[in-house]
């Protein structure tokens, strides 16, 4: 069972500022879903290799050439806040 403290911890990891009501509903719903998912534990997977991708993929290489990239103005055009040629964000480092 996932506890209220677990839910709060996961919300912090996921950077979601949830309200008390949301945290409580999330605890109930995640418990319901995880109880269902627990059926997977019944399967014996000893010695089974995991599948991370539907088709086998190896490293895909290309030449390290210069190519045109997005112009700065277009890259910044969707920014919620900017300063000159930079994205502007709230303070990160303490005084």
């Amino acid at each position: 069972m996932i506890s209220r403290q677990d839910v709060e911890h996961v919300a912090r990891l996921a950077r979601l500022a949830l309200t008390d009501a949301e945290l409580e509903r999330m605890r109930e719903q995640l418990n319901g879903i995880l109880t269902y998912i627990d059926k997977l534990r019944a399967l014996d997977t000893a010695g089974v290799e995991p599948t991370s991708h539907a088709v086998p993929l190896v490293n895909v290489m290309r030449e390290d050439d210069n190519r045109p990239s997005l112009p700065q103005g277009e890259a910044l055009a969707n920014a919620p806040d900017r300063s000159g040629e930079f994205f502007r964000v709230p303070r990160i480092i303490e005084d």
């Binding site: 996932i2 677990d6 839910v7 996961v10 919300a11 912090r12 990891l13 996921a14 950077r15 979601l16 500022a17 949830l18 949301e22 999330m26 719903q29 995640l30 319901g32 879903i33 995880l34 269902y36 998912i37 059926k39 997977l40 534990r41 399967l43 997977t45 089974v48 290799e49 995991p50 599948t51 991370s52 991708h53 539907a54 088709v55 993929l57 895909v60 290309r62 997005l70 277009e74 890259a75 055009a77 969707n78 920014a79 919620p80 806040d81 994205f87 964000v89 709230p90 303070r91 990160i92």
Partner: protein
């Protein structure tokens, strides 16, 4: 409403023109889409400009091919240069991509006319399109019911005659299920067959670009136009693309159709079972062999999917942080508070639930029990299919356990997830799978037959689907939304 191949053949003969067709579709959208709710953005000006360019090519007797001038719709998950792309989310409400997705580029190069961007479950998470942050989409066969999801807007647009064809994405069934609910064709090709460059990511090991159409011929045309290797998508496969339309008429003689026992268990609507078994009888009468097969891990599919997909989503959606694009909720005392408030305000309940589930499944102490175990079960699911395809060429099964349900009927998240039970296994294995109309229930709601094929063998899948379609009347039926 005409199919794409009928429409563009009429352009070539001069019976009608791309501009006239585009104007007719835009007029229909103008008068009917308030009722259906398929579109989030209608790009009338761009569509008419593209139609005029197409018309000039026909006049010069130099059309680019059988999609030239075809009016189509795109799920609002594909980046379109200069056209708002929301993913059905408040967090991307004002996002205007600076580039086109590869599949959009290829459609434009083929001459297609893009009518607009369609509604969807937020970030493609859902099976009813009710998780859109913006509007409800209604099923053209019964406006009180959902069109399915997550690509519900694209499915409803085609079924309602508001586009001649469309594209969605299929991660756990998000094209096949709405195709079944709306009585049209939906094809999820092999994983990697269509480039995903410019597709907003949900679950990267599961996301597929996938077309909707009135019939199998149009589906083959749409697939052929966008399939093929793309150096900008490292997961796209570098394998030649056959002429899918040319192979459609080869019939089913000599092919063996497998019928998986586990897809006909409890929970399947008896009317759907009857329709699907009748469809398999049609394939037998057309000359196919039919064999029972077993896919024992089917019952673990939903549980596996709802670990893998949320885990990948929690990582992919970390990019929505209020910094580079999209919503920002200002006023936080520091960066983390700004990011956390932005995400809380910008994401809807289902997206938050999946981010939480995925973050939990990947977090320290739980990884092996959840995500690790799910990846191993994924191997078992793949082995089931490998064993079946050693004996048969294609599998036949229902697309969904129920017909289209009513808005609000599946309020419990787990009940909604269970609707994907028959579509998830082909998603997790990357196998090509198609849903084609195979009848109607007593209430007049469409039923879908799902065919699943071997890796990269869309050609056989389309050939079987086409043989079935040509032998049955279902694809000619259209709902009346007027």
């Amino acid at each position: 409403m005409r199919t794409i191949h009928e429409l563009t053949a009429a352009f070539a003969k001069g019976e009608t023109s791309p501009v006239a067709a585009t104007e007719a579709y835009l007029a229909r959208i103008g008068s009917l889409d308030a009722r259906v709710g398929a579109y989030l953005t209608v790009t009338s000006e761009q569509a008419l400009a593209a139609a005029r360019a197409s018309e000039a090519r026909y006049r010069a007797k130099a059309p680019r091919g059988p999609l030239d001038g075809a009016p189509i719709a795109l799920k609002d998950v594909f980046c379109t240069r200069g056209v708002r792309t929301t993913c059905g989310s408040k967090i991307l409400e004002g996002f205007v991509p600076p580039y086109d997705a590869t599949m959009v580029e290829r459609l434009k190069a083929a001459g297609a006319v893009i009518l607009g961007k369609t509604n969807m479950d937020e970030f493609a998470m859902g099976s009813s399109t009710e998780h859109s942050a913006f509007q409800l989409t209604r099923n053209p066969w019964d406006l009180s019911r959902v069109p399915g999801g997550s690509s519900g807007g694209s499915a409803a647009a085609v079924a309602g005659g508001l586009a001649a064809g469309s594209f969605g994405t299929d991660t756990g069934g998000s094209v096949r299920q709405p195709a079944a609910f709306c009585g049209i064709v939906g094809l999820k090709p092999t994983y990697g067959r269509i480039s995903r460059y410019g597709l907003v990511a949900f679950a990267s090991s599961l996301d597929h670009v996938a077309p909707f159409a009135f019939d199998v011929t149009d589906t083959a045309l749409l697939l052929g136009a966008v399939a093929g290797h793309d150096p900008l998508d490292a997961t796209s496969v570098d394998v030649a693309v056959p002429d899918y339309v040319a192979g459609l008429g080869a019939g089913v003689t000599g092919l063996t159709v497998g019928v998986p026992d586990e897809y006909f268990g409890s929970g399947l609507d008896p009317e759907i079972e009857r329709a699907v078994r009748a469809a398999i009888d049609v394939l037998r009468e057309l000359g196919a062999g039919v064999e029972r097969v077993s896919l024992p891990t089917t019952e673990y599919g939903v549980a596996t999917y709802y670990l893998v997909a949320p885990a990948e989503a929690s990582s992919n959606l970390a990019r929505y942080d209020g910094v580079k694009y999209g919503l920002r909720v200002p006023g936080g005392k520091d960066l983390i508070e700004m990011v956390s408030r932005t995400r809380a305000a910008g994401f809807g309940a289902e997206v938050k639930r999946r981010i939480m589930l995925g973050t939990y499944a990947l977090s320290a102490g739980y990884y092996d029990a959840y995500y690790g175990q799910a990846q191993k079960v994924r191997t078992l699911v793949r082995r089931d299919f490998e064993a079946a395809f050693a004996r048969v060429d294609v599998l036949a099964a229902p697309t969904t356990p129920s017909v289209a349900f009513r808005h609000g009927e599946k309020a419990d998240p787990l009940a909604m997830y269970m609707n994907d039970v028959y579509t998830i296994p082909a998603s997790m294995t990357g196998l090509p799978a198609i849903s084609v109309p195979c009848g109607f229930n007593a209430a007049g709601l469409p039923i879908g037959l799902q065919l699943i094929g071997r890796t990269l063998d869309e050609a056989t899948l389309l050939r079987v689907a086409h043989a079935y379609e040509q032998a049955t009347p279902w694809h000619d039926r259209r709902p009346n939304v007027e």
